[in-house]
């Protein structure tokens, strides 16, 4: 059995899966897809894998999955022996799915601004940036009050979940879309914490954090 990730190196959504597989120590092969400038995700062979024409796609034996959030849950349920990344608790599950939806909103705004600025996509830059700032404000408030009540992560109190992985990349890459994070100190501190998760790995534009130990 071998997992294949249909991957574009500069995609934050693909990076979500590389990140969780690295953390869970899951071996996988990469099948590069030329998203830009080749638009290979709209090629016939790719549309047969995912008719929505979106990256990433993950193949596990004969199983073909798409949507980064759905794949994160699949990987957590299948490979996470600790049960932390997608816990069974009904309330926590609901919270995680809620923040997976926020992650898609971040993609629709922060990632759109990045694609418009860096990859010439015809998106409304100002609207995308304002949308991202609106979400970041709520995220910062949620995380600020989380810190005050002993919750360092988006959902469960003591550990990160797939929600943190799902929201992380396009928060970190927001500067590439002209969206500063200066006004969101709690959000910035949370990105430090995510970058200190054991097994964390980087992508272009996402730097590691130094160790938080003396």
């Amino acid at each position: 059995m071998i997992i294949t990730l249909y991957d574009f190196e500069l995609s934050g959504n693909c990076y979500k899966l590389r990140l969780l597989m690295n953390i869970l120590n899951v071996p996988y092969a990469i099948h590069p897809v030329d998203f830009f400038p080749g638009r290979e995700h709209k090629a016939d062979w790719f549309l047969r894998l995912n008719p929505f024409g979106q990256l990433p796609v993950l193949k596990d034996d004969d199983l073909v999955l798409s949507d980064s959030g759905a794949i994160l849950v699949y990987l957590a349920k299948k490979f996470d022996t600790s049960g932390q990344w997608f816990p069974d608790d009904p309330a926590v599950t609901a919270e995680i799915l809620r923040w997976h939806a926020v992650a898609d909103d971040i993609t629709a705004t922060s990632s759109a601004a990045r694609l418009a600025l860096g990859y010439s996509y015809p998106f409304d830059i100002e609207k995308s940036q304002m949308g991202a700032h609106r979400i970041f404000r709520i995220l910062d408030e949620h995380l600020w009050f989380g810190e005050k009540s002993g919750r360092d992560w988006l959902c469960a109190p003591a550990h990160p979940t797939t929600a943190d992985i799902a929201c992380f990349p396009y928060v970190m890459l927001s500067e590439e879309g002209g969206i500063g994070r200066q006004d969101y100190p709690a959000l910035r501190r949370w990105t430090d914490r995510v970058r200190r998760v054991p097994g964390f790995t980087v992508m272009s534009g996402i730097f590691p954090a130094g160790p938080a130990k003396s």
């Binding site: 408030e141 600020w144 009050f145 005050k148 009540s149 994070r181 200066q182 006004d183 100190p185 910035r188 501190r189 430090d192 730097f207 590691p208 954090a209 130094g210 160790p211 938080a212 130990k213 003396s214």
Partner: protein
Amino acid sequence: MPLSLSDPTWYPIASSEDLPFRHVYHGQLLGRELAVWRADDGNVNAWENRCLHRGVRLSIGINEGQELKCQYHGWRYANRSAGCTYIPAHPADAPARRIENRKYPVREAFGLIWSAANDDQPFAPFPGAEDHDWFALRPVPVNATPEDVLAGLSRLAPDDQPVEFIPGRAVTLGSAHFFVQPVDAARSVIRGILPEKPADEIATLRYYNEQLTKLRDSLERAAAKKPAPEPLQPVFEKVSVELSTMPDIAVPRGNTFPVVVKRKWQSADGVIGFELADRDGKHLPTFQPGAHIDVHLPNGLVRQYSLTNGPGDLMSYTIGVKAESASKGGSKVLVETVREGDVLAISEPRNNFPLRRDATRTVLIAAGIGITPLLSMARFLDKSSLNYELHYFARASETMAFSSELDVLHGRADRHIGLTREAIKAKVAEVLGQYQFANHVYICGPGAMLEMVQETATALGWPDEAVHFEYFQNDKTIDASSAFDVELARSAMTLHVPAGRTILETMREAGLTVPSSCEQGACGTCLTGVIEGEVDHQDVYLNKTEKASNTCMMTCVSRAKSGRLVLDI
């Protein structure tokens, strides 16, 4: 009141809790971006948010505890001074010139971090500040002019309660104080504090957060209808050419400054520790691991002592002095006559013994008082979690200095006590092992030890560039039998140097003021440019390549092979 780039007012720029362990906070005041970080010793730094090298934001850098590392090319800057301590692209060189980032004044008080655009005003607490243990609310950034935000805050007051404006764009509403941080012409942050911790913290924080968020939304709606003022245009000074190029050889500076002996203590049998601090409690100049200072002694002598301090540790320098040193009575004066509270003149730190931080394995070998620079190196490597091992050789355990400082290191620090000469040699060979790529060894101790380790390393395949050492004295026998002329190009005079006299002495007799220190070819102070003639090098300061270049010399011991030397002096 329009915003001014030179406004000297102190404004809050962050909450204390915005600076957790090993974090870099991204702030802004009056148009200038700031990288704000707390060092492990608790000190808060507020720096211009760009690396002097390529202008990348330091707020995305790494807080290494006592140094901030730029994310782009790894330049490291020291806590307090913001001086550059290491440039990875030049791992074998000390960044000797004053590469120092722009700093802003900073204070931590009343639950907040305060800063100002310049040093024109001393920090003054607002009225009544000292009477309470303040509790910070959640800061709320607002995209509106500081003036409009202040006006909006004052409208929050109930009709029967007067609004009191306090200096520095702030109002009190009941017992709550609200400060408006002027981020830029059209951007502000509301920072509120309460005089004490409320009974139900979360409920109180939620209450104020909701009030301020509503205010923010209404202020931003109003601001959207008005033309936004132009952002402030801070002028950023360019980095000078001198700062942006690497020095070839560290040219010593002649300047000294006074320090007070803060503490003098017996660190071990025969070793006295001296802690030297600024008289006004300011931080001392930046140093790199391996650096030494010249200490000007009451009897007129000048002696070199290595600093033992760790990274960003600039509130005092700690040196170790061997009590029974026979070196021309220098150390004796320090040990016997200098007391706590005395003032000494010292030079700025110089580094002839720079530490590479790109080794896969670093071996530090100290003998006796030679522990001092290696303790500093171990502390730097320790803080950056780099791989190192320290081997400390001494005759007896009572003579091992800085023992408690060594105990708190996380890395390997082995003590080797009372070994015979042969046993020391065998142990050194064992710890060095066969040379492997990117291994480096640093040695400090008596001349015989230095030579033994160098020979052993060479025999085990270690190349010269991987073996680092620093001489504090020149044990070579100086051959002063030659006689020759020196032509001093800039002073326009020619002098005859007879056998038995040094160039330095001859120049001084002719009335020239020439800096010198050890006068035995070890410290580098009398380094002089050579324009013509062949030099007879007898020092231990210059390395083989520098000697072969025939472009510089130490006038205290070296002489001429030719009949005439032309010096750039």
